[in-house]
Symmetry: C2
Subunit: 329 residues, 2 copies
């Protein structure tokens, strides 16, 4: 199975590093061999139809690699022998680019696509899926929601007989860390945020998290992917967590609840909500937790690491393996 | 897809009732049609190669059904046109019968098997799986562990790249209800048990639950199914929950923990353990919660309804649909 890796940030590097580690395991367990035939960044690509040594890509600066070329991603995809394109570029929530163009190009070339890039899916879900269908290809995106939590594939592969009545939960680890900190140590938002920044849990673009935008993007993807809707980012009513004070949290605790930033897919809403202390969604720290309300299985909750380059690769590889097995069949 | 349903207790009835409700949905979504060609109980079977009207089976006493025959299950399986046999008889933890013979017979006749019956799997896992492999058939058993929680299929279909380092958690809803009650209302084991019995959460054979046997059986199945072991019931060290007093629970709470009856698959142990209040396994009421420790995705926890005839059918149908799609391909 030939792969083109687009984007060499944390996720792209994490993917190649885990793929190196797991190649023997995947060959033995699934009889699947993977070779990376292109690695692309903004300025150019490393290209080799015979397969690129992953160790060399992880060690050497890209432009110094013997197989480096200044050709751009879209051009390289046009002539690539890849079966699956992996889109890991950073998302731009205004345009969806460059991910959108990469995905459409790869589909146009007959490739399947696996992506961790939320922006194109939040802005143009139906357009992408319709085009994939027309090209008889697939776009998989488990990694866009909940990091390591296999939410979409859980729905697809284990709850087949169920209709999903709602999906809601904690979809952003940074805000959950801040709210947990405020609750456990009775500190202010600013103090908790500072600690999150120091620990590298929050990044410089933390506004995206605390204002609820990241959660809203995931609500859009889940609504379209699992609940059959056709919505975009602007359809979600978003309230972030800045108004939540240590005093409000204290009051909530007195009544047996915690305050969490919750994304609610059937309501198309992101807002701080009271979660009773006994509730499966009452999870602290950087974890994510998502509840699926179903008509047969009742409520199923999945909890796990919502971010992290290594953990997220579990979701990416799940999609890659599924597509690999399909292509092999 | 032709089905033989063996065992007409709560699960068997629940299955047929949900199948009736979902037939249109499954036909539309998966292009799968199911007809039940045999329904078997101890004294005989309802048999019709053209398909049995499920409503009639659910309404009329079996022996009054027009397609009733006194022929026994093994005999009916021998000549049945069924593609998949569903084994729902009660388990006998000494012999594994009658489930074991039903499963082996169905495999011998070229059928796939889906079962909710823990006893045969806990006593003879490898023997059953080896025979299935030789016959080029499959035995699926999602419903044997965790009721509605799709634990085995989660592992199989969404964590493919991971090695599982441990599985542990609360695998029995009755004991979790009793321990939660003791903790929340500071009552004794006897008082909590009485309430569980009154509510129908505990049954007359509650010893099986409180002494840890039910949890141990699930540990055996998970060890064999997910962690590649080859063990049987006698390999598990089992301590039940009778020694846990309201005072111990009070003391644990003072130190920020709850006491839960935990099955630990890598340790092959069932015992009451301290679970910190912030931990994802700290779940109260009749819910089950299971944590998978993985090498790539980190810790993933699944929480849901651990029993119940309707909820468990979600797991059964997941297996039936997978097998149906495979046979159709």
């Amino acid at each position: 199975m030939k792969l083109a890796v687009i984007g060499l940030g944390n996720i792209g590097r994490g993917f190649m590093s885990v793929l190196r580690e797991k190649q023997g395991f995947l060959a033995k367990k699934y009889n699947l061999g993977f070779s990376v035939v292109a690695v692309c960044e903004k300025d150019g690509c490393i290209v080799s139809d015979k397969g690129i040594d992953l160790k060399s890509v992880l060690k050497v600066p890209m432009k110094k690699h013997p197989s480096w070329t200044g050709r751009k991603t879209l051009d390289v995809l046009s002539s690539s022998a890849a079966d699956i394109a992996l889109e890991f570029t950073p998302g731009n929530m205004k345009t969806g680019e460059p991910g959108f163009s990469h995905i459409m190009k790869a589909l146009g070339c007959g490739m399947d696509v696996v992506t961790s890039n939320k922006a194109p899916l939040a802005l143009a879900f139906r357009e992408i899926m319709d085009y994939a269908k027309r090209k008889d290809s697939e776009v998989r995106y488990e990694a866009t929601v909940g990091g390591a939590i296999p939410l979409i594939n859980l729905y697809r592969s284990t709850l087949q007989a169920n209709e999903i009545r709602n999906i809601y939960g904690i979809l952003n680890g940074t805000t959950n860390f801040i709210l947990s900190k405020m609750s456990e140590e009775s500190v202010s938002f600013d103090t908790a945020l500072r600690e999150a920044l120091e620990l590298g849990i929050a990044e410089s673009n933390y506004r995206y998290d605390v204002d609820g935008v990241d959660t809203a993007v995931k609500v859009v993807i889940l609504a379209n992917a699992i609940m059959g809707k056709d919505i975009s980012f602007s359809d979600v009513a978003v309230t972030g967590m800045r108004e939540v004070t240590a005093e409000t949290i204290e009051l909530a605790k007195k009544h047996g609840s915690e305050i969490k930033l919750v994304g609610d897919v059937s309501q198309l809403e992101v807002s701080p909500r009271l979660i009773p202390q006994w509730h499966p969604l009452n999870i602290s720290g950087v974890l994510n937790a998502v509840m699926l309300e179903t008509d047969v299985a009742g409520d199923i909750t999945l909890t796990g690491v919502g971010a992290g380059p290594r953990e997220t690769v579990s979701s990416i590889l799940s999609d890659v393996i599924e597509l690999g097995l399909k292509r092999q069949a």
